[in-house]
Each structure stands twice: as structure tokens, then as C-alpha cells.
């Protein structure tokens, strides 16, 4: 594995050239380039906010901030995986002619999407400052925002590891990219993006569920690493949401769910493991990519 890493380092210039190329291709076809791709999540979030605030009557102050805080990282996850799934297959004619470390293709796709994600997060921060400027009061960021780089890094690891698995598998089995896109679609609803993890807590702790299962169920929900990382994004950046448990109309309790650092640590450990495993798997099979007839 060490020699593979050295080889990759030797080819770092190609990796960078590939990333630049990906970004060029992405922003080339439109005049507004970058702004279009930023506009897309912003408009999506705007529509979701309108629907949730005014149609479904979700009463959460600054709801769009919570949406963006989870939606932007999820977009990175989704786009990087979909892009990298195809990365080997589309370059197969090139792979059949010339040597370079094959992992450059999926890694390059992930990095290109990652850089885009960082820019989007920059825009998100500007948005928070704008909201704060409109109605000054509390500090727009929580102090824990300084953990953010670590969280971003862990999500990068998870995404990269899965991208390596998926790109390799998709080269051998054409069905993989369909499974991935369906999986991502379902995952979107299984992760706390449109809703809050506090609501999941309330649902798993409803009186319909036997008391001894309640905590276990909630823990199982939080074992999904990408979901847990998204919880992390929200809780590290934004104010906590109150949980209001109502029973036949009476408010029983209102309390705050703190960030579960143990679960976050587990998600982080899983992320790093997935990256190492993905890299090892990719290296094991990468010589067989060109051998498909």
C-alpha cells in the first residue's frame, strides 16, 4: 500500500491537472459558470423552505440555514459518488493505451466536487452573515464551528472511500451506478436533511415504542455515518433545536439534544476505515479494468 501511495504522489501533477480539467468542463458550458452551480442548491433550498414554512407549517426560525447546513454536504456526497461511478468507464479507451495510477480518476472526481463544495460552504457563510446583518442579535456562529474542518475532512474520507469502491465495481458490473443513484435517493430521506434529528429522537421515544428499545433504535439511526456527519454539521454550526414532546395536546417536556460525540466519533472512525478499505480494494482490482474485452 505504501508503494502505491508513493506512486500516486509521483503522479500528483497529473491528479491536479485532472481536477482542473474536471472543473473546466463543468463550468465551461455556461456563461455564468460557477454561479449556476451555486444557484442550483440555493433555489432548491428556497423552494424547500417555502414549502416547509408555509405549506407544512414548520416553525423553525431560520429554517433555510438548517437546510443548507445539511443539504450542501449531502450534495457533495451525492455528486462526487455519481461522478466517480462513471470516471473509470468513460476513460477506458485512454486506460487501454497508457499507464497512470488508475485511482487518479475517481480521486480527481471527488476532489473536483470537494473544491466546489468548499466554495458553496463559503457562500453559505456569507448567507449566515447576511442573515445576522439583517437582524443582529446573537453571534451567527457557534464556537464549535472550529471543529468544522475536521468534520469536512472526515466526510471527504467517507466519500473518497465509497467513490473508490463504486468506481471499481461499476467497471465490472454495469448495474452498480443504478443501484448507487437509487441508494442515494433513498439516503436523502433517511438522513436528517429535510427534518431534524430531534424529530427522530421524538419519534423513537414515542410511547408506542417499548421503553427498552427506544435508545437502541435511535442509536441505530445514528449509525449511518453520512447521516451522523450531517447531524454534526448542523450542531457544530447552528443553534440547537428544542425538542417539544406533546402528548394529547399537552406539552410534556422541552429540552435540547446535545451533539452525541461518541456517535460522531464512530461515524468518523467508520469514514476513515471506509477510505482505507476502498483504497485497498481499488488497488487490488485496478489491473483488471483494462481486461474487459
Amino acid at each position: 500500500m505504501l508503494s502505491e501511495l508513493k506512486e500516486l504522489y509521483r503522479y500528483r501533477e497529473l491528479l491536479w491537472t485532472f481536477v482542473v480539467r474536471e472543473l473546466r468542463i463543468r463550468y465551461k458550458n455556461s456563461v455564468l459558470g460557477f454561479f449556476w452551480s451555486i444557484l442550483n442548491p440555493l433555489i432548491t433550498v428556497l423552494v424547500m423552505t417555502v414549502v416547509f414554512k408555509y405549506v407544512l407549517n414548520v416553525r423553525v426560525p431560520n429554517y433555510s440555514a438548517y437546510l443548507l447546513a445539511a443539504y450542501l454536504p449531502f450534495m457533495f456526497f451525492q455528486l462526487a459518488l455519481l461522478d466517480s461511478a462513471q470516471s473509470i468507464l468513460t476513460q477506458l479507451p485512454l486506460l487501454k493505451k497508457i499507464y497512470f495510477p488508475r485511482e487518479i480518476l475517481p480521486i480527481g472526481s471527488v476532489i473536483a466536487n470537494f473544491l466546489h463544495f468548499l466554495l458553496a460552504m463559503g457562500v453559505f457563510f456569507l448567507y449566515l452573515l447576511f442573515v445576522w446583518w439583517m437582524n443582529p442579535g446573537e453571534n451567527p456562529f457557534r464556537a464549535t464551528v472550529f471543529w468544522l474542518p475536521l468534520l469536512v475532512l472526515l466526510q471527504f474520507c467517507l466519500t473518497l472511500g465509497l467513490a473508490l469502491f463504486i468506481s471499481a465495481l461499476n467497471t465490472f458490473y454495469e448495474d452498480v451506478k443504478y443501484l448507487v443513484s437509487v441508494g442515494l435517493y433513498l439516503l436523502f430521506f433517511l438522513c436528517p436533511i429535510l427534518y431534524f434529528v430531534e424529530q427522530v429522537w421524538a419519534a423513537t421515544h414515542s410511547p408506542d415504542i417499548p421503553a427498552q428499545w427506544q435508545d437502541t433504535l435511535f442509536t441505530i439511526y445514528n449509525l449511518n455515518p453520512i447521516g451522523m456527519l450531517l447531524v454534526g454539521y448542523r450542531k457544530l454550526m447552528l443553534d440547537p433545536q428544542p425538542i417539544t414532546v406533546t402528548r394529547t395536546g399537552d406539552v410534556l417536556e422541552t429540552h435540547y439534544l446535545p451533539l452525541d460525540w461518541t456517535m460522531l466519533a464512530i461515524a468518523g472512525a467508520v469514514s476513515v476505515l471506509v477510505m482505507v478499505a476502498g483504497y485497498a480494494y481499488f488497488n487490488k482490482v485496478k489491473w483488471r479494468f483494462v481486461e474487459r474485452p
Binding site: L14, I98, V290, P293
Partner: protein, 248 residues
């Protein structure tokens, strides 16, 4: 005598016909239905050497293993067994437009191709002028590659390949396209490359081109080197055998 540029000893490449390659999940889940694994020896116990400055033509009918041999030298495939020793860097001449993205301009594609062939971005910048001049595509370098003719694509690709200072050039049936003028220029460039000690291995079905350029010819048949000798000797035997696919 100096060290050979390419030394190949007992090289074997087997393809796994049933197991490797593209299949659907369904096909793979039904693995028990599969017949016994079949192995195909695309390159079968091949040994030869190429000296610096030598230009070697490779002929043989389709499926003889020529492309696989070049792929092994380009490190695209891992050999099943045998040894390959290369002194210096290898530059495969890429297939028409392989590695070119249609939406990017000629220059942007030159960067990607140059770096893939082992240059740094800085080196590409230094050589950009020369590469563009040699390719003769003029102002089109700033236009997206999708607007290029196949001749232009070939010229640009070839131009990058000969400007990377590799010591071994691999050419797989790529020179067949392009006009006569440019072919002449390529042959001149190849001669210059040879004079500087570069080795060339090139696959072609164009007997005239092989006669003009090659110092020696390898004739491959069913994965093996069937004959290896002076150009005229091997080619006349090869032409008499009628194995060469007809030219269009």
C-alpha cells in the same frame, strides 16, 4: 554495445475469457451456470530486443497479439509471466482523440495529454509553441476540440507525443489517417527521433509505411513471434502468406 532500449524475455499475457471483464450482476450471480474458465494466450512466450535508434515494425493479422504486446510495454497490462526491461520513458501514441475532451480547447487538451505522458505543466508551457507549430492547426488551438477534423486530432496528438522527450515511442496503427504531407513530416520527425537514440515499435498494416520506416520487422502469429528479421526478408514472406488484412 549499448544497453537495449527494450528487452523482452519470455513474455506471456493470458486473458481470462470467462471471468474478466464486463458483465452484469445477474451474469455474475449465475456463476454456477458458467463453463470452466477459459484462458486465452494473447502474447505467448515472446522474446526480443530493440536497440536505441532502432525502428521496429510489427505485423500480423488481426488478433495476433500486437496491441496486447504494445499494451504490456506501455504498462497498461500486468504480464502473466516473463520480463520487460525498458531503459528510459515510454510514450504511446494515443489513439485518435483518446484523452481529448471535446468541450475543451486544443491547448487545454495539450496540457492534459502532455502531463499524462509524463511532462510537468511547466514543461508543457515551455513546449506549447513548438507543439502547436508542428501540429499546423493554427488558430484552432483555441477552439473546442469537437470542431476538429480527425486529421487535426491526429496531428495534435502526434505532436504532443513527439515533444515529450520519451526514449521509446509506441505506435499502434495510428499513422494511417492524415494527409500525405503530414505523414511525410511524421516520418521525418521519426527519423530525427531515431537519430537521437530513440527506439520505436510500431504496428501497421500499411506495408509501404513499414518498408519506409522500419529497420527490422516482427511478424506475430497467434501470440508468438513467428519471424524476426530484416524488413525486406520478413515482409516478402509475410506478403506471400496473405495474412495482411486488405487496406481500404
Amino acid at each position: 554495445m549499448s544497453q537495449p532500449a527494450i528487452a523482452v524475455r519470455n513474455l506471456v499475457k493470458e486473458f481470462d475469457l470467462t471471468h474478466s471483464g464486463y458483465s452484469s450482476l445477474k451474469g455474475n450471480l449465475l456463476w454456477w451456470r458458467k463453463k470452466r474458465k477459459e484462458r486465452l494466450r494473447a502474447v505467448d512466450d515472446v522474446s526480443f530486443e530493440v536497440r536505441p535508434g532502432e525502428c521496429v515494425g510489427v505485423v500480423g493479422k488481426n488478433g495476433a497479439g500486437k496491441s496486447t504486446l504494445l499494451g504490456l510495454l506501455a504498462r497498461v497490462y500486468k504480464p502473466t509471466s516473463g520480463e520487460i526491461h525498458l531503459s528510459g520513458t515510454v510514450a504511446p501514441l494515443l489513439e485518435l482523440g483518446a484523452g481529448f475532451h471535446p468541450d475543451l480547447t486544443g491547448i487545454e487538451n495539450v496540457y492534459f495529454n502532455g502531463v499524462i505522458l509524463g511532462l510537468t505543466r511547466k514543461q508543457v508551457t515551455e513546449r506549447l509553441e513548438k507543439i502547436i507549430e508542428f501540429s499546423e492547426i493554427g488558430d484552432y488551438v483555441d477552439a473546442p476540440v469537437r470542431s476538429y477534423s480527425s486529421g487535426m486530432l491526429l496531428r495534435l496528438g502526434f505532436s504532443v507525443a513527439v515533444h515529450v522527450d520519451a526514449s521509446i515511442l509506441l505506435v499502434d496503427e495510428a499513422l494511417a489517417v492524415g494527409d500525405i504531407e503530414f505523414q511525410k513530416k511524421c516520418l521525418a520527425r521519426i527519423a530525427e527521433f531515431q537519430a537521437n537514440g530513440g527506439a520505436i515499435l510500431f504496428v501497421s498494416h500499411d506495408m509501404d509505411a513499414v518498408r519506409r520506416a522500419a529497420d527490422r520487422v516482427l511478424w506475430m502469429r497467434a501470440g508468438k513471434v513467428y519471424q524476426d528479421g530484416p524488413t525486406e526478408e520478413v515482409l516478402s514472406a509475410y506478403e506471400r502468406s496473405g495474412e495482411n488484412p486488405p487496406q481500404d
